[in-house]
Amino acid sequence: MITRNRGFSTVAWLAAIAVVAVATALVTALLMNIGERKQEATRPFVRLVEVTEDSTDPALWGVNWPKQFDGYLLTAEATRTRFGGHGGSEALPQEKIDRDPWLKRMFLGYAFSIDYRDRRGHAYMLQDQENTERLTKPQSGSCLHCHASIMPLYRQLGDGDAMKGFEASYKYSYQELNAKLHDSGHAYPVSCVDCHSPETMELRVTRPGFINGIRALANSGAPVPHLPSIERWRAGNKAEPYDPNRDASRTEMRSYVCGQCHVEYYCAAKMPLTFPWGKGLRAQDLEAFWNETKFEDGSRFMDYRHAESGAPILKAQHPEFELWSQGIHARSGVACADCHMPYMRDGATKVSDHWVRSPLLNINRACQTCHHMSESEIAARVDQIQQRNFELLQNGGTALMALLDAVQAAKQAGATDEQLAAALELQRAAQWRLDFIAAENSMGFHAPQEAAKVLGEAADLARQGQVAALNWNAAQ
């Protein structure tokens, strides 16, 4: 006869204990999870190592701020959107100038016609610059202003005064200054210290080019409704010059730090690096500034002479800050970082995503915080804007090529430089506008209406130039 233990078998008892044990384990796991989140919330980072103004190695900062550093490291990842980026192989990205042949002809006489590729992430900025075939032509040390964590070297060159060091740096060749950079031990791409104060981690700007440029903008009367601290400074007594690190709001700083480099500038060897903001931020304002600029030897400002036509050309760099300034997002108080480094949640902490990249790769965090609609709808709207801009851009390219064809034909028929002067001036104006939008890295999205206006002017000016070249001997 089997004895029963008050109606329960041993197996049932063991099963009951096992169930309770599993339940206890789960509750304990939950308890631990809650505990960890509470810890995260009270202590977002632990300062384990000291960082100073000379700590250019981002890995050192990464010890204290691992979440931001993890994002920064991801800028080495290959990303691609329809109109920008890098396809993903280990090799350098595709040649932009092979895809749009008119770019190559537009840049004849300038090093960009040798090598001009799609951009890669922040982590590659120094390496890509050291490897570009454009270095077969003489390049200035000014280029390192934005491609390296350069401030310690500027201080070294200026005996402690970074502004002085900066002002001397354009006289060095790229190779000389790059060698000095490596000797100084600061050969890193853009790093934490370039945008953050090592003491407080506050955002700050460091680049002399930006500090001079934004000061010139503040001193001008150009309307800047999207930069209220400048308008406030103008309304004050102006006893001290405008200082972004003192006057700007946190929202503005979230754009200024990017504006240290993502701008139009002159960075060759004939004068110090210059941001052309003394008359405003629109393409036409920048053009007017350059048209009034003279080199130190008194000659007219230009980036290069066009090898085919001889026109004195302005090369647009990558005026993202300027074009953003004309758009609805800037006007609404949306900063660069709001879309390109949106806030993200990591456990119980809120961090800004240091994987700086196209918002199209991060639509939920970048756009949906404000735009309450589906990701596919947002992507479709952006695509529509960019496609229209792309078509206008190609249209402008065709017009510019027609101008160059007409100039060539006129030259072959015996036209002199004087007879072609009007056509060549129009080439300069048309090409400036076309390049302004082509080189800008948003395919028109940062300010679609402004981009369309600029491209409309480009095509018009190019066709005017074509007419002028066709009529080169009309007066005789």
Partner: protein, 156 residues
């Protein structure tokens, strides 16, 4: 065997009660807005509510929960389940977005206070489809301006 089970159950009840207490379980029965940011996810929503036009006339529950006793506790239980699951497993859509059912509760609460002004606007509408949603236009009422720490600070 009964003793082992009794001890095990005791440990479970003890750890369970402590976890409940540690996670501030009782606060979820209160009306305090601070309870809604216990689990950290709602911190930005809480911060933005502090800066909104409604912060001294409406707490979280005034807009986000039904005002009848049964409906309120059903909604608390349902949202409580979804939120604790979402945060423990970290598997929700970001940015966090209101669900259709909760958007309906929200709309009812707008009208509950503002019926006198709005009855002609919303009259005749039946949810969901054709309804005029107050927050479609009055997006900043509950959580302030979306950008720029309360909108742009201008000189005038």
């Amino acid at each position: 065997m009964p003793w082992v089970l009794a001890i095990a159950l005791g440990v479970l009840i003890g750890v369970g009660s402590f976890t409940f207490r540690y996670a501030e379980g009782l606060s979820y029965l209160s009306t305090d807005p601070a309870a809604c940011r216990n689990c950290h996810i709602m911190q930005p929503q809480y911060d933005s509510w502090l800066k909104s036009s409604h912060h001294n006339v409406a707490r979280c529950i005034d807009c986000h929960l039904p005002h009848d006793f049964v409906g309120k506790y059903i909604a608390k239980a349902e949202n409580g389940y979804h939120h604790s699951k979402g945060f423990t497993f970290q598997d929700f859509h970001e940015p966090i977005m209101i669900k259709e059912k909760n958007a309906g509760i929200l709309q009812d609460n707008c009208v509950r206070c503002h019926a006198d002004l709005t009855h002609e606007v919303v009259a005749g509408a039946t949810r969901p489809g054709d309804e005029v949603r107050c927050v479609h236009c009055h997006q900043s009422a509950g959580h302030g301006e979306t950008v720029g720490l309360g909108g742009m600070r201008t000189t005038n």
